[in-house]
């Protein structure tokens, strides 16, 4: 990417542990990879690390190198599938892999836009590609097979940017299952939270042993301008890489360039409505936000479309096209209706600095977690909007247009793009702390995350979790909240799994469910954030038990500070934690009491432990459902 790593503070000049980074293997479960991309060439890479136990079985027309050290594909026997790990049908896998671990590649842009040095978060790391998606989708059985292989192959991090539409039971959720066994082997799994936002409870990534990632915006905002014949300039959205024209062109309303549709269908530029002869050499004004697809198909010169329902990101367009807000679209409509020969010119997109960033994209799936409401999901956020990264030179550069341009780098948005940022950030932390457990790495990323603004991101903590990752700070978190297999087993006991099943899950016949108080809940898991669902309109008194491990200064004293705007009483006991050695553990209680919350509401606060050097922040959320 050419901006996102700088934006979250992982500059090219950041301190790196080069040898350790070269030994990191990121397993990417996706649509495969384009091995010839410059982002994946192996110049300067030595042979795979000795711990690597995987293979290069990438199938047809696929060769590994010392950067892409492993390749497998699944589902190749299905009709219309490909027996290859080559990302030849989609480009998504090349994009996500390069965000995580792509090489530094100078002077990359999308037809001049977003120009810079493209790089992954850990450019020296190795990639193992597991192609689990074929043109007909990504099947559970293939995803599970890839987890089975990746764990055994010896990857350090699993990055998986795909998911279900809604949350399911942990053991009917293949990503949760795979991530559980990955966690047992010390492997971090980073998972996209989903693109079903901003609906309440829309995230399907709910297991506490994986990292669920929301998509945030960087400060690079794409805008596009249209200049009307009367000289007015309106600003909209799109990634329009076509050169600004020297002259203006006729601008016609969709209903004026249709010969076979109703007025209503043609004003929206619905499919099949635009007449090829009438649109030639003209811009078309469409009331639908997807009118540009029809304008492109009909051979129009360009399109002005309406941002309704509202989206807050820009997509690549295959012709000069701009998405205008309803208000501005109405201005253009008024101009077209009141002018004899309306004209316009649609300029090439440009990027400006977005002072509001970071904010969470509207599409990013939100909590609460419908399986365990006492665990906040998503866990944290990372850049996932308009990310420039490697792409396969396919027949089309867009998922929706039949755009004939071939590119090696393109811009995509989604929690798919946010997820590999966290994969790389976890890898970066691991290069400094190779013996840390997945939960310690996750804790480091969560407690050092940049707080985000509730007012700017609908859903607050249910949108951004603990905030936006800060990989450099995560290397030195001070304290970590660690949870191991046994802790997750107790949490599963809490939510009703019987000990016999949990023995099978853990592979340990000594696994038992402790006698738990009736108040026991997943909120007691030693998680880096704290949440509890309470009954609406009833007084509440909730206690969180937590234990932190000292990974900062051997001798240190941390003071608790509560940050909140809510009318709530929060007590921390003890308020001071004194450590005398590294890896020493200290426990504390956080009690939250109040007089009652309305239905479907959320109360937020933060607990910050600080010793003057390190700052360890955990969000606290109490919420009600209907």
């Amino acid at each position: 990417t050419t901006r996102s790593w700088d934006f979250i503070g992982l500059q090219e000049s950041a301190t790196r542990n080069a040898q350790a980074e070269s030994d990191i293997i990121i397993g990417v479960l996706d649509t495969g990879i384009w091995p010839e991309s410059e982002s994946f060439n192996d110049k300067g890479f030595g042979p795979p690390p000795s711990k690597w136990k995987g293979v290069c079985e990438g199938g047809l027309n696929f060769t590994c190198n010392n950067k892409i050290i492993g390749a497998r594909y699944y589902g190749g026997s299905r009709p219309n599938s490909t027996q290859s790990a080559r990302d030849g049908d989609d480009g998504h896998g090349s994009h996500t892999a390069s965000i995580a671990a792509g090489n530094r590649v100078n002077n990359v842009s999308f037809f001049g836009l977003a120009q810079g040095t493209a790089r992954g978060g850990v450019p020296s790391a190795r990639i193992a590609t597991y192609r689990v998606c074929q043109p007909d989708g990504c099947n559970d059985e293939d995803i599970l097979a890839a987890f089975d292989d990746a764990i055994a192959d010896g990857v350090d991090i699993i990055s998986i940017s795909l998911g279900e539409a809604e949350a399911t039971d942990f053991f009917e959720d293949t990503i949760a299952i795979g991530a559980f066994h990955a966690m047992q082997k010390g492997i971090v799994t980073s998972h996209s939270a989903g693109n079903q936002g901003p609906s309440y409870g829309s995230t399907a990534s709910v297991a506490p042993w994986l990292i669920s990632v929301a998509a945030s915006r960087t400060d690079r905002l794409f805008i596009d301008k249209v200049v009307l014949g009367d000289g007015r300039t309106l600003v909209g959205k799109s990634i329009n890489s076509f050169a600004s024209p020297a002259t203006r062109f006729p601008l016609l309303h969709g209903k004026e360039v249709s010969s076979q549709c109703s007025e209503n269908n043609s004003m929206y530029c619905n499919e099949g409505c635009l007449d090829k002869k009438l649109v030639k050499g003209k811009y078309v004004l469409c009331k639908s936000n997807s009118g540009d697809f029809e304008a492109f198909a009909a051979g129009a010169l360009g399109a002005i479309v309406r941002n309704e329902p509202y989206i807050d990101f820009s997509d690549v367009v295959a012709l000069p096209a701009v998405l205008l807000s309803a208000k501005e679209h109405d201005l253009v409509l008024s101009y077209v209706n009141s002018t004899k020969n309306p004209q316009a010119s649609i300029l090439k997109s440009e990027t400006i600095k977005d002072a509001e960033a970071p904010t969470i994209a509207s599409f990013s799936s939100r909590g609460p977690n419908f399986v365990t409401p006492d665990i906040i999901k998503p866990d944290l956020s990372a850049p996932g909007v308009e990310i420039l990264a490697a792409y396969s030179p396919l027949d089309t550069i867009s998922f929706t247009f039949d755009d004939p341009r071939r590119v090696h780098y393109t811009l995509l948005s989604g929690t798919s793009m946010a997820c590999p940022h966290v994969s790389a950030a976890a890898a970066y932390v691991k290069t400094f702390h190779p013996d840390w457990s997945p939960s310690a790495i996750k804790s480091a990323l969560m407690t050092t995350a940049l707080p985000m603004s509730d007012a700017k991101s609908l859903g607050g903590e249910f949108a951004y979790g603990s905030g936006q990752i800060n990989p450099v700070a995560a290397v030195r978190p001070g304290l970590v909240y660690e949870a191991l297999k046994e802790d997750y087993i107790i949490m599963l006991c809490n939510i009703g799994y019987d000990a016999k099943k949990l023995q099978v899950l853990s592979g340990d016949t000594n696994t038992t469910c402790p006698k738990l108080p009736v108040t026991a809940s997943p909120k007691d898991l030693n998680y880096p954030s704290m949440a509890a669902e309470v009954f609406p309109a009833k007084p509440f008194n909730v206690t969180f038990h937590r234990t932190v491990t000292n990974v900062g200064l051997a001798t240190s004293s941390y003071k608790a500070k509560i940050v909140t705007n809510s009318k709530v009483n929060i007590k921390v006991e003890p308020e001071v934690l004194t450590f005398k050695s590294l890896n020493e553990k200290k426990s504390f209680l956080v009690s939250v009491s109040g007089s009652g919350l309305p239905v479907k509401s959320r109360l937020s606060a933060s607990l910050v432990w600080s010793d003057g050097t390190y700052s360890v922040r955990s969000p606290i959320v109490l919420h009600t459902q209907s």
């Binding site: 996706d30 649509t31 989609d90 998504h92 998606c133 007909d136 989708g137 990504c138 099947n139 559970d140 059985e141 995803i143 599970l144 097979a145 987890f147 089975d148 292989d149 764990i151 055994a152 940017s161 795909l162 998911g163 279900e164 539409a165 039971d169 053991f171 009917e172 293949t174 990503i175 299952i177 795979g178 066994h181 047992q184 082997k185 996209s192 989903g194 693109n195 989604g414 929690t415 798919s416 997820c419 099943k501 099978v504 899950l505 853990s506 592979g507 340990d508």
Partner: protein
């Protein structure tokens, strides 16, 4: 009976691999043999096993076969295959 029911692809999830002497593939086939109506159906029902990092297999099952497998010792869940989407 069950043989007339439609078979759908299911994942049979069996947790961690047991320690010691254990052959996942033969265990999975044996479980399937005990589940499907006719011995000959095992070959057409069985799809693949997971045996490197955890325990489980994939098979085409009717609803009643799914139910029988769900009640077997060592099985955590049996669920129909879903298709996930890129995000």
């Amino acid at each position: 009976g069950a043989s007339t029911e439609e078979k759908k692809v299911h994942i049979v999830y069996m947790g961690s691999l047991p320690k010691g002497q254990y052959s996942p593939l033969s265990r999975h086939r044996s479980m399937l043999r005990q589940t499907v109506q006719l011995d000959s159906s095992v070959e057409t029902s069985y799809i693949r096993s997971y045996s490197r990092s955890f325990n489980g297999f994939v098979a085409k099952l009717t609803d009643s076969e799914k139910q029988r497998l769900s009640n077997m010792e060592g099985v955590i869940s049996v669920f129909p295959r879903k298709t996930l989407q890129l995000q």
